[in-house]
């Protein structure tokens, strides 16, 4: 005979269990499961669900992880190589040890998808509306992909003979292998894109025709004009445009004259130019306005350039040039550089008396690109040299949208991909107002204080291997090598999964009142990050209002910050589920 056996209980024994007491009535606050944005998500230019796909990687659900990535970015293998990864800068883990290697994990998944030739889900239904996309760079391709997935007819116009834009004609292959680039682009085209290569829209009349022919137009023609240094005579044979040089390099053409190359600029294009020239066996110097720690290029690019023997002259500018017998002499001076509030803004003070000279055979300015807005004069309004757009990336001409470098100063590949996605959402809403609902996440990202770091032992970041320095300069093969399977597993395990529940059951086990129920699989809708778990692990949880005393231990012991306490003034005793 046991105490719970109510029917047969004798009066000597307790006749019931403590469950008759509804101790939940003591409660003033109640835990609430919620999905909150992670800091990496907030920083991500494509608004990727980073916590979700990393969790899938840690559970070895690689295909699922890839699909989650592909929701927001059709280029995981490309972004995993060249993204400037603001996600990692925002990562909460750096407050414990080091940021999670999000970019290397993205590359790991992206590469696996290519190796295993994973296919995208079939397009559910075709739509009669058609969209013309002008420009086959990251913004245009991203927009084409997102619109085609939604079933729209998509025509893509590209002026050059190959797609990729800056990814092909600006980024050297030692940073982005061409096979990877081709494969990720091909996957988009295979969705059924009407492709028009080597078709350039010369003027606004051509754009008008396109506008008439299609239901909407997306312009992403980039920033194709190089900015000019006033003190440099661009007609001289020893002056070479960096964009033209890099584009020629992508075809295997070498435009360099002489052995001493001077690159002017401190951004990614300058570093790409310098490192490409080093691979051609040249002696290369970079002259940049910014001091070394403020160079606009990524730190890793600068580090690798230094390793490869590129000389940096930082915090200085050229004032004039003089052609001598043995090369061009550049008269330079040191400057005091101060960054402005906006990206690209700065002020300099020339430090008198600090003059010095540099000598070169070829000078390559790489100080940035600007947009040719004159082409669209009369049709599209311009704003500070960029196409003027509203919040939904629509230009001054209704039905014509714009994005990428031609509409923004955020000049990173993944920013362009994100803009393409946003424009696709806006175009979809424009064409089918009732189907596309804009997703707005206004909630504050989960901070480090919400993470219970007890559950995360100190663990150093898994570093990607680099090609050995000796062989790097021999050619244009990739410098950064992918993580191993084991390394990726460890790295994914380092993710705090801020604001996204990992179903670890900590809340369940730390409740002194047994007031948390694990929900069975069948009770949960099929959202992607809840697909699979261990046999006895919960897949979603609910709070028993009858017994939860509102102590908050579940919140304190949640390793991911996925539970918060809310004031509970009601007397409802119904079960409330994890949403």
């Amino acid at each position: 005979m046991v105490a719970t056996d109510k029917q047969q209980a004798s009066p000597l024994w307790t006749t019931t269990t403590s469950e008759v007491r509804l101790t939940g009535t003591w409660r003033e606050a109640k835990p609430d499961y919620h999905v909150a944005p992670s800091p990496c998500h907030g920083a991500c230019p494509v608004q990727g669900d980073i916590a979700s796909w990393i969790q899938q990687v840690s559970r070895s659900e690689y295909y699922g992880a890839w699909l989650t990535l592909m929701e927001n970015n059709p280029f995981p293998a490309i972004a995993g190589r060249i993204c400037h990864h603001p996600c990692e800068t925002a990562c909460n883990r750096q407050q414990l040890d080091e940021t999670v290697g999000i970019c290397s994990l993205e590359r790991f998944v992206g590469d696996m998808a290519l190796t295993q030739s994973w296919a995208l889900p079939a397009i559910k239904q075709d739509d009669d509306c058609s969209v013309a996309i002008v420009g086959g760079g990251p913004a245009g391709l991203s927009c084409a992909y997102q619109l085609r997935r939604r079933g729209f007819k998509v025509a893509l116009y590209e002026a050059r003979d190959q797609l990729g834009g800056l990814m092909r004609y600006g980024i050297p292959s030692y940073r982005l292998d061409r096979a990877i680039l081709d494969a990720e682009i091909e996957r988009i085209i295979d969705l059924g894109i009407d492709l028009h290569l080597e078709v350039e829209l010369q003027d606004q009349a051509a754009l008008k025709r396109l506008h008439k022919e299609y239901d909407a137009v997306y312009l992403a023609t980039g920033a194709s004009q190089s900015k000019n240094l006033p003190m440099l005579d661009y007609q001289q044979p020893w002056v070479l445009d960096s964009a033209a040089f890099l584009a020629a390099m992508s075809h295997g053409q070498n435009m360099l004259l002489g052995e001493r190359i001077l690159v002017i600029g401190g951004g990614s294009a300058a570093i790409d130019t310098a490192r490409s020239a080093r691979r051609l066996g040249k002696a290369v110097t970079i002259l940049a306005l910014e001091p070394e720690h403020l160079l606009p290029a990524q730190t890793i690019e600068v580090t690798e350039a230094l390793e490869e023997g590129v000389e940096f002259v930082c915090g200085a500018m050229m004032q004039s040039t003089q052609v001598k017998d043995k090369g061009v002499q550049l008269h330079c001076v040191k400057v005091d550089f101060s960054a402005g509030a906006e990206r690209g803004e700065f002020a300099i003070d020339v430090l008198t008396g600090s003059e010095f000279n540099l000598v070169a055979d070829t000078v390559i300015p790489a100080i940035g690109q600007q947009v040719d807005m004159d082409r669209w004069a009369g049709l599209l309004a311009a704003d500070q040299g960029l196409a003027q757009t509203d919040q939904g990336w629509q230009t001054s001409c209704r039905g014509i949208f714009a994005g990428g470098d031609m509409a923004s100063m955020d000049r990173f590949v993944t920013h362009a991909v994100g803009m393409g996605k946003q424009a696709a959402q806006a175009i979809s809403h424009y064409l089918r107002p009732h189907t596309e609902v804009a997703q707005v996440k206004t909630e504050k990202p989960v901070g480090f204080e919400a993470i219970n770091s007890y559950y995360y032992p100190i663990s150093k970041r898994q570093k990607q291997k680099q090609t050995e320095l000796e062989t790097r300069l021999d050619g244009f093969s990739e410098v950064q090598q992918a993580l191993s399977d084991h390394g990726a597993m460890i790295e994914a395990g380092r993710c705090f999964s801020c604001g996204t529940c990992t179903y670890c059951d900590n809340c369940f086990y730390h409740c002194p009142d047994m007031a948390i129920t694990k929900l069975a699989t069948s009770e949960i809708d099929g959202s992607p990050n809840r697909a699979q778990s261990g046999p006895s692990r919960g897949i979603g949880y609910s709070i028993k209002s009858d017994y939860c005393k509102g102590c908050g231990l579940c919140v304190a012991e949640c390793p991911t910050g996925s539970i918060i306490m809310r004031e509970d003034t009601g007397c409802s005793t119904k079960q409330e589920s994890c949403s």
């Binding site: 003591w26 559950y455 670890c504 086990y509 009142d513 047994m514 231990l553």
Partner: protein, 296 residues
């Protein structure tokens, strides 16, 4: 991330009347589910008695015998002998008592049971005072801690129950805390399989008695372990010491800061308590060094 891996089979019921956030209830949950269904509990007056009981309802699935404050170990011995007489030799008898019922009032009964090596599993929920009666000091209250009966802070040090029990040469003594539920479940599992007297002392940071916030007891327990105030250890046969967490990587300040009972302390008092903790840590280290290490 290490997942919690004991199985909750519903041996401890909701609706008990422990304070919100009480980790004694949390520890009971782990212990009762690990002990399993072939078991009987003997409970001395304590918070546990209140949590388990409240006639005519019980929070425990297994039968419970509520006994007197001084006789938890003696009653458990009798229950076990009765079961053995009935041929139920495998049934685990688990005694549940507080530090008052262990360090003070029940010490004689526990010492006698240990001397006879009675086959019982004795759990002491050590919240370092008579917290159920309003927070008076016990011989387990640490130096400087404020209680209802030591308003200026206790003058003497905490009684070392592990060493007293070790002197009885019983097969198994362990300390554990709600800061590590896997450690707690593993030690109960281990004790269950050993014949003779087993004692597990569980540190219970008491929300009301120590002045800890409602969701802070688990964290406080972890800080007690990390700072070496409450080392997690096992003693086999009274001789062989094993330290389960071998690093003491924090000064006691963070641990003290969690609790109102230490709020009044001067720098000198903190230094004195730190010295006591350091000395205890070194003493345990020496015992670990000379242990034969037959059970690790």
């Amino acid at each position: 991330m290490e997942l919690i891996d004991y199985q909750d089979d519903g041996h401890f019921f909701s609706g008990h009347v422990a304070c919100a956030g009480c980790v004694e209830a949390l520890a009971l949950r782990v212990i009762l589910n690990t002990v399993g269904s072939d078991a009987m509990a003997v409970v001395a007056p304590s918070c546990s008695a209140v949590i388990c009981g409240g006639y005519p309802a019980s929070a425990l699935k297994i039968p419970v015998f509520h006994t007197t404050l001084e006789s938890a170990a003696a009653s458990a011995s009798g229950v076990k002998r009765g079961l053995v007489a009935q041929g139920k030799t495998e049934t685990t008898v688990v005694a549940l008592a507080g530090d008052g019922g262990t360090y003070d009032i029940g010490l004689q009964a526990l010492s006698s049971a240990a001397e006879r090596n009675e086959d019982i599993l004795y759990i002491c929920f050590d919240n370092e005072g008579y917290m159920n009666t309003g927070g008076q000091k016990s011989s387990s209250t640490p130096k400087s801690a404020v209680t209802g009966s030591t308003p200026a802070g206790k003058e003497t040090s905490k009684k070392n129950m592990v060493e007293i029990l070790a002197a009885h040469r019983i097969p198994y003594i362990a300390t554990t805390s709600p800061g590590d539920l896997n450690d707690m479940a593993a030690k109960v599992e281990k004790a269950k399989a050993i014949r003779g007297t087993k004692v597990i002392i569980v540190l219970i940071p008491c929300l009301a008695g120590w002045g800890v916030v409602d969701d802070g007891a688990v964290k406080t327990a972890r800080l007690a372990v990390d700072s070496g105030v409450f080392p997690l250890l096992e003693v086999f046969g009274g001789h062989d010491y094993v330290l389960n967490k071998t690093t003491k990587n924090q000064p006691i300040n963070d641990y003290l800061k969690q609790q109102k009972r230490y709020r009044h302390m001067s720098v000198e008092q903190i230094a004195s308590l730190q010295a006591e903790v350091d000395e205890q840590w070194q003493r345990i280290q020496k015992r670990v060094e000379v242990s034969s290490g037959f059970e690790a």
